[in-house]
Symmetry: C2
Subunit: 191 residues, 2 copies
């Protein structure tokens, strides 16, 4: 019926995600996007409506990929605290200085754009749930204190993750971040 598009939408969204991740939403121009995605503006605007539309797609893509990676890492067998430490280490082991797209977006756009906010909150929820599932397992197996306040511990660990990703974005020494992670995991078991 019509000429098929010459680009893979998923691939384009993935590359756009990388650019928004590094540069932020406001600082990323549509021409910059066009160059990075090898996509003319007419195609970009027909496919994604506008810059914000592409950004929302990027947020969705980020959540989907991060979520699957997080779940994969968390379903691994092994000592709960080691799994947790590896997971946290992986969280801050991104390409240097990228931080987390969701954290960057939450601080850049704050609570201004409700549609963006819904996405950042959904992404946060993925992390939170992944943590809860792991801690619950730890309590079941006795690797974590039975009297652990699960909700509070999840909340605190989640907050710690956000802080770690800010620090990673800020270029803090990976060794220091690793030490912080070690201590956080140790504290969790202390109760």
């Amino acid at each position: 019926m019509a000429r098929p598009r010459e680009f893979d939408e998923q691939d384009v969204v993935a590359r756009a995600t990388g650019l928004f991740w590094r540069r932020g939403y406001t600082a990323t121009g549509v021409r910059e996007l066009g160059a990075e995605l090898e996509l003319k503006q007419s195609s970009l605007y027909r496919a994604f409506h506008d810059k914000r539309g592409l950004f929302l797609r990027a947020l969705d893509h980020y959540r989907a990929t991060e979520s699957s990676q997080a779940e994969e890492l968390l379903e691994r067998p092994g000592p709960v605290r080691e799994v947790l430490r590896d997971w946290l280490t992986c969280m801050v082991g991104e390409e240097a200085g990228r931080g987390c797209l969701v954290v960057n977006t939450a601080t850049e756009l704050g609570a201004t754009d409700p549609e963006v906010r819904r996405r950042t909150e959904a992404a946060f929820e993925v992390t939170r749930r992944a943590l809860e599932s792991l801690l619950r397992r730890g309590c079941r197996t006795g690797e974590l204190p039975a009297g652990l306040d699960l909700d509070a511990a999840v909340d605190l660990l989640f907050t710690t993750v956000l802080g770690l990703r800010v620090r990673e974005r800020a270029g803090h020494d990976p060794a220091r971040l690793a030490a912080t992670i070690d201590y956080a995991v140790r504290m969790l078991a202390a109760q």
Copy 2:
């Protein structure tokens, strides 16, 4: 010898700080700044050279005011854990959705601008040192475990603060943040 300027530089920087704080660096235009500061562009550029110059001044101003406030709160007498909790609560008790200028800046500009980075790092150091001083006092008075790994605890608490400020910026429920703070303080004493 010459006509005196009609604006108070400190006041102008303070107001610019508020605007950068809410909107971020990139999204804040010089005309917007001019309107908020009641300052014509010619005056602005003569006084601060350019937009970035004013932003650097804003970062300095923020650090100075926040630092003095933090030190004031931390020199208060009283139980260490209560002082810490009050301080953390104050940290996230900003005007809703503002978060922390330094955290917002670190995630927005990352490690791109070395001059900015020096400032964010200096501001982080203020927080870190304030925490260290308080925890040290807690160890001295016996309010905190004697075997506390001071450096690690400071690092983790500092990371938690960053996370809390991200969450405040993201519009999370203040009650949840308060609960997170309570738990963090409790964990600190557990060792």
